[in-house]
């Protein structure tokens, strides 16, 4: 089957095989007056001989010198909703008179679509090139550019992948919460806000730069199974935003991030902050950008885990500490980094055919299916183990154990990965649950620190760490 041109053409025999599954066929031809004619009839299909025969419809003159077609078409009405089970096929050929006045058409070409074999979202994605060609023709006809549009709000949300900002807010807020616990009245609220703004700008710059370089390197173009959570924002492929404008947005975001970083550095010079900030910006930029293209070299998961775990969390902490990096924020950053890396990791599962074609050597591209599924489980459990061990050895506060409530979600993702590994659209719900693992665990960890901060202020004698409790 060739879908690249926007039409699902396939072999005539395949067309006849599909045609036989419909309860009737629609004969179509172009009449002598130039208008098409259609009539429903019963056709006998013989796939072996590559023909379909039928009694000519009464009162109509089926041409023998021109091509005709037989179409099968089906939908299932669903009152109050619309319909589903869409499928259709058309087979072309020339008719010839055979016995008993019947006509036989020898199949020469076929096309069609069956949403059971090509899901609608994939069919849509495969037609993006056709939409571009049509808009180019329409623009020429109208003498003005015609482009697809979205409102500014929706476009911003889509182009920057705004909902993924939870991956930034969680480590930064947890880092700030630990700093508030450690430094109390010395906590700098303005610096905390600047930290959040800078980290957000880096994340948005990364998201947009990722689209820019994936578009230039062809990875997003080759992906016909994007989902809500994978395959990039698609705004460049859909013609909603130009490559140049996306590049400008990315540069602007990085400029904001660097500006914020410089302000923080100037107000509290710290080599640790300089190192963390520089590492964060460089890792995020070279995530997809040449010459490093870290995600193309199989380092994407590690970079994301580091960037949205230790770098974000420790960066937020160091802004407040001025340089000191105790063990507590380091340990707290590990589960957050692991779980955010697993968001990327699971989202890469449906992308792996396109990523492989584009030379993107992600872990799901390199590993076997069982290895990918087992690695997910191992890494997710390790994240929870770090929290539990952190509490047991007295590095993390006891309320941090509440984050273990997210554990059942891991089981759902693990089972979903096994079940829908080959189904990009079946995986969509699983990807959503996997994002929830990160949000729930990170959110509960943050909540634990809020409780600890409140208890430390209101009831200073209450033991918050296990060694204090056992003492």
């Amino acid at each position: 089957m060739d879908l690249r041109t926007g039409v699902a053409m396939f072999e005539p025999a395949e067309g006849l095989t599909r045609l036989v599954t419909f309860p009737f066929a629609l004969l179509s031809y172009v009449g002598d007056d130039g208008y098409p004619v259609s009539a429903a009839l019963d056709a006998e299909v013989d796939v072996e001989t590559g023909t379909a025969s039928f009694a000519p419809p009464a009162g109509l003159s089926v041409p023998l010198e021109r091509e005709i077609s037989l179409t099968g078409s089906h939908i299932r009405p669903r009152p109050g909703y619309g319909y589903d089970e869409r499928r259709h096929v058309t087979v072309w050929g020339r008719a010839a008179t055979v016995a008993d006045g019947r006509l036989a058409m020898r199949a020469t070409a076929a096309w069609g679509w069956d949403e059971a074999s090509i899901p609608f979202p994939e069919y849509v994605e495969r037609q993006v090139g056709q939409s571009r060609r049509y808009l180019a023709r329409l623009s020429a006809e109208l003498g003005r550019p015609v482009r697809p549009r979205l409102s500014l709000g929706w476009l911003t949300l889509r182009a920057t992948r705004l909902p993924f900002l939870s991956a930034t807010f969680i480590p930064v807020l947890v880092g700030l919460a630990i700093a508030l616990l450690h430094f109390g009245p010395a906590f700098d609220l303005v610096a905390a806000l600047l930290t959040l703004i800078g980290a957000t700008a880096v994340h948005l710059g990364l998201n947009v730069a990722n689209d820019v370089f994936d578009a230039r390197l062809g990875a997003d173009e080759k992906n016909v199974n994007p989902t809500q959570y994978s395959g990039g924002s698609r705004v460049i492929q859909y013609g909603l935003v130009s490559l140049r404008d996306m590049a400008f947005i990315s540069i602007a975001m990085y400029a904001i991030a660097i500006g914020v970083g410089l302000v923080l550095l100037l107000t509290r010079f710290s080599l640790e902050l300089l190192a963390i900030g520089a590492a964060g910006i460089l890792l995020s930029f070279f995530y997809t950008a040449p010459p490093l293209k870290l995600v193309y070299r199989g380092l994407g998961e590690i970079v994301v885990g580091l960037g949205f775990g230790p770098i974000m969390l420790l960066g937020a902490y160091v802004v407040q500490s001025g340089g000191a990096v105790p063990l507590e924020p380091v340990i707290a950053s590990i589960p957050i980094g692991l779980l955010v890396a697993l968001i990327l990791y699971v989202n890469e599962v449906p992308d792996r055919p396109a990523d492989a074609r584009a030379g993107k050597r992600t872990l799901p591209v390199r590993l076997s299916r069982p290895a990918v599924v087992n690695l997910y489980l191992g890494a997710a459990l390790a994240a929870f183990a770090v929290i539990a061990v952190g509490v047991i050895v007295g590095v993390l506060p006891i309320p941090a154990l509440v984050a273990l409530l997210g554990l059942p979600l891991v089981r759902r993702v693990h089972e979903g990965l096994q079940r829908y590994y080959e189904s990009p659209y079946g995986l969509m719900a699983i990807m959503a649950v996997n994002i929830r693992v990160h949000v729930v665990v990170g959110g509960l960890l943050l909540l634990a620190y809020v409780v600890v901060i409140a208890l430390a202020a209101l009831a200073p004698g209450v033991p918050l760490f296990l060694p204090d409790l056992l003492r």
Partner: protein, 157 residues
């Protein structure tokens, strides 16, 4: 008041899908399923720019045949009809032009209003052209049996 026989108007109004046959540049017929919307005079359909090959064919040759033939899509009605006519593609602004037929569309496919709320997820699907077919001739098979000649009704002009 349309010249189209009332039973055929009823079929068009009831149909969840019509098979629209157009003429390609190589004179081959090609058939596309679409949702037909009846405004009492013309048959209206919309097509996303994603599936715009049909629109290109129509701009090159506006002659079409619309078949109403699947009893399942016709609510169990046994009659079948083919409406031949001339199509006009309305696509001055694919972002908004089609919204004029949204009430008729939603009546046949209510879920489309839910999809429209999530327009951000399907931006190209909701860039659409309207296909407006002015009927010229109607072939009607009251019992759906094409082994009997159709009742033919010609439009004025």
């Amino acid at each position: 008041m349309s010249w189209i026989p009332a039973p055929v108007q009823e079929l068009i109004d009831a149909a969840l899908v019509t098979e629209m046959t157009v003429v390609r540049a190589d004179d081959r017929p090609i058939t596309y399923p679409l949702i037909p919307l009846w405004d009492g005079e013309k048959v209206l359909m919309t097509s996303s720019i994603l599936f715009s090959r049909k629109l290109e064919h129509l701009k090159d040759n506006p002659r079409v045949a619309l078949s109403f033939s699947d009893p399942l899509a016709l609510g169990g009605r046994p009659g079948r009809a083919t409406v031949q006519g001339d199509a006009r593609v309305v696509d001055g602004d694919p972002h908004t032009d089609w919204e004029q037929v949204l009430p008729l569309w939603a009546a046949k496919e209510p879920v489309i209003l839910q999809f429209l709320k999530a327009r951000v997820a399907f931006p190209l699907f909701f860039e659409r052209s309207v296909v407006e077919v002015t009927p010229r001739r109607v072939l009607f098979w009251p019992d759906g049996d094409a082994t009997r000649p159709p009742e033919v009704t010609e439009g004025a002009g």
